[in-house]
């Protein structure tokens, strides 16, 4: 397990001064968050599909961990990142309102 600690230490350096404990807590919450959202979205369609997809998603997310580095990079104070997400949400909101999803 020492290797895992070193690995995470190396990865979390990008966050700049964050403790590994906080990074790990955030990571685990994110791991729980995505499959739950997937289930919440797809449960209306079919329970089995939702569970299977969520399990697959967990596997995929675990292999691409640590996820928290990417999330924190996308939530900095930079103007262009905020503008990018605002543009996407504007499009999606209008599409949901009128596209009839």
């Amino acid at each position: 397990m020492d290797n895992l600690y070193d690995y995470l230490h190396e990865k979390f350096k990008a966050l700049g001064g964050t403790q590994i404990g906080s990074g790990l807590s955030a990571e685990f919450i994110l791991l729980a968050f995505f499959p739950l959202v997937l289930i919440a979205l797809l449960r209306g369609v079919n329970d089995t599909i939702a569970i299977v997809l969520a399990l697959l998603f967990i596997v995929a997310v675990v292999f691409s961990a640590p996820f928290v580095v990417k999330v924190s990079k996308e939530n900095t104070d930079h103007y262009n990142i905020a503008a990018f997400y605002v543009a996407i949400v504007m499009g999606i909101v209008m599409f949901i309102m009128l596209g009839g999803i």
Binding site: L15, T18, I29, F33, D77, Y79, A82, V86, V89
Partner: protein, 493 residues
């Protein structure tokens, strides 16, 4: 019924703003008038009686056939509603703003009249948004609020403040234009601006694509004003760039505006499930991302900023459920959380004013120097994390209950996850500030002789703790009122 004191809640802060700006430079006058004005601002909502106010005395008229509106009667004037919810929100705003004004007056050697006038303008604007029953009037005061908030952050000075305010104004322009375009589409389609009239015209019209466009545009504006998902970095940047006492005021205003605008949206388009789905989905994202980001911060102010944003997401979840229980719990949580987060921001303000920094790597070991502050802060952390017997427990419990009742148990799990994460983040902040060994020997500096800050801060903190415990022990008066508002939203005003 007409109540004369209702417009004074907006007009008096506006007059005070003008006068304080004119007095800028005369220190004693500004101090005296600032305290006096805050007293009036606090007292007026208590004594105002419930009812409506019609501006310009223009009454309701029976419609003429030429109007092309299928309503039996139409409001001519701008109308303000004032009921228990409005009273609670306006009073809460006035109370938090009083601390911001008093802390400025008691802390600064040279008082800035312009700064106080901006605080007054934001109070007036938020009060107007809360009470307005007219969608265009609401927009006008939202714009005033956006500019005034940016000005308060600019007044702190420094590059970070300028950057935050610039971003806030740019995206505020996008959101404001979006709301205005939505209002224009509604006005063009139905010819009325009064929200009650629009509600009556809109019932059964929710398949009109122009109305749906308007819904989307106003929802985008709502997302900005309440700091939800795509705008959460901008809001948190504003909170962390402002002084923490102002951040307390800003987050209170954000939650109040969130509730006010959400009530308008639900009253107008409540029957449209896609809208509540969008609100719910983005709120869930804000809750989780906000608390994750809070955990990763290295500065106490930024940590609290992201916590405040994630709590706004929690309020949004309650409202976005669109059920009676959910809306009531959301409104209730907005009030509770505004108080609790203000408590935390004010404790950090005290540290910031005396240690001149809130970075974790420079703080530490403050428990020895400020045990009382540490005690109050740990109470605040427990309140925000939803521990009984405090008020946020009552509302978070009801939000989780509402998610399960609404048939979304996964959301309940997510709310619990977010709450745990908030608790972990805040405890991390507490540990690094108060418990960790102080390696850099930063001490809480001595305060000046003119500085009445400790007294003001401690009195405010104790009042806020008492309010939290009081609402926590006796939640029903507030929750029942919130529930009746929710009933009215869904059944009709």
């Amino acid at each position: 019924m007409n109540s004369e004191l209702i417009p004074l809640m907006v007009i008096f802060p506006l007059i005070s703003a003008i006068l304080l700006n004119l007095m800028h430079g005369k220190d004693k006058v500004v101090r005296a008038y600032g305290i006096l004005a805050m007293l009036v601002v606090l007292v007026v909502p208590i004594f105002a009686s419930y009812g409506n106010h019609l501006f310009g005395a223009h009454p309701v008229v029976d419609t003429l056939p030429q109007l092309k509106i299928s309503l039996s009667e139409v409001n001519l004037a701008i109308e303000y509603n004032f009921a228990f919810l409005q009273k609670a929100l306006v009073f809460l705003l006035a109370a938090i703003a009083t601390f911001a004004v008093l802390s400025h007056i008691s802390n600064e050697k040279k008082v800035s009249g312009v700064y106080l006038s901006m605080i007054m303008l934001s109070i007036a604007a938020v009060s107007a948004v809360v009470m307005a029953n007219d969608i265009f009037n609401m927009f006008v005061f939202l714009e005033i609020m956006t500019i005034a908030q940016a000005a308060i952050v600019i007044a702190v000075g420094g590059v970070s403040g300028y950057k935050a305010a610039f971003k806030y104004l740019v995206f505020g322009g996008v959101a404001g234009a979006s709301i205005l375009l939505g209002i224009a589409l509604l006005l063009g389609t139905f010819g009325v601006l009064n929200i009650s009239d629009l509600h009556n015209s809109l019932s059964g019209n929710m398949t009109n694509p122009i109305v749906l466009t308007a819904v989307g545009l106003i929802v985008i504006g709502w997302l900005f004003e309440s700091g939800l998902f795509p705008f959460h970095t901008i809001k948190s940047n504003m909170y962390s760039a402002a002084k923490p006492d102002i951040a307390a005021l800003l987050q209170t205003q954000t939650k109040i505006v969130l509730v006010a605008l959400a009530i308008v949206l639900l009253r107008l388009f409540g029957g449209y499930s896609n809208m509540t789905a969008v609100m719910l989905g983005l709120s869930v994202g804000t809750l989780i991302i906000g608390s994750v980001m809070a955990l990763l911060q290295t500065d106490f102010r930024r940590l609290l900023a992201f916590t405040a944003v994630s709590q706004a997401g929690l309020v949004g979840i309650g409202i976005g459920l669109g059920t009676r229980l959910g809306i009531a719990a959301g409104i209730f949580h907005a009030i509770n959380d505004a108080i609790a987060m203000s408590l935390l921001f004010i404790t950090v303000y005290f540290i910031y004013e005396r240690a001149k920094t809130t970075e974790f790597k420079r703080l530490g070991g403050l428990l020895v120097q400020a045990p009382k502050l540490a005690f109050i802060q740990i109470i605040g952390i427990l309140i925000v994390s939803g521990v009984p017997p405090f008020n946020a427990y009552q509302s978070e419990f009801r939000i989780i209950d509402a998610t399960i009742q609404a048939g979304h148990p996964e959301l309940g799990v997510l709310v619990i996850l977010g709450t745990i994460l908030t608790f972990v983040a805040l405890m991390k902040g507490f540990y690094l500030t108060f418990l960790k060994e102080n390696t850099t020997k930063i001490a809480l500096g001595k305060v000046h002789i003119y500085n009445g800050l400790p007294t003001v801060t401690y009195v405010t903190l104790i009042i806020l703790v008492i309010a939290c415990v009081g609402i926590g022990l006796f939640p029903m008066p507030f929750y029942d009122r919130a529930y009746s508002v929710a009933l009215k939203i869904l059944v009709g005003w």
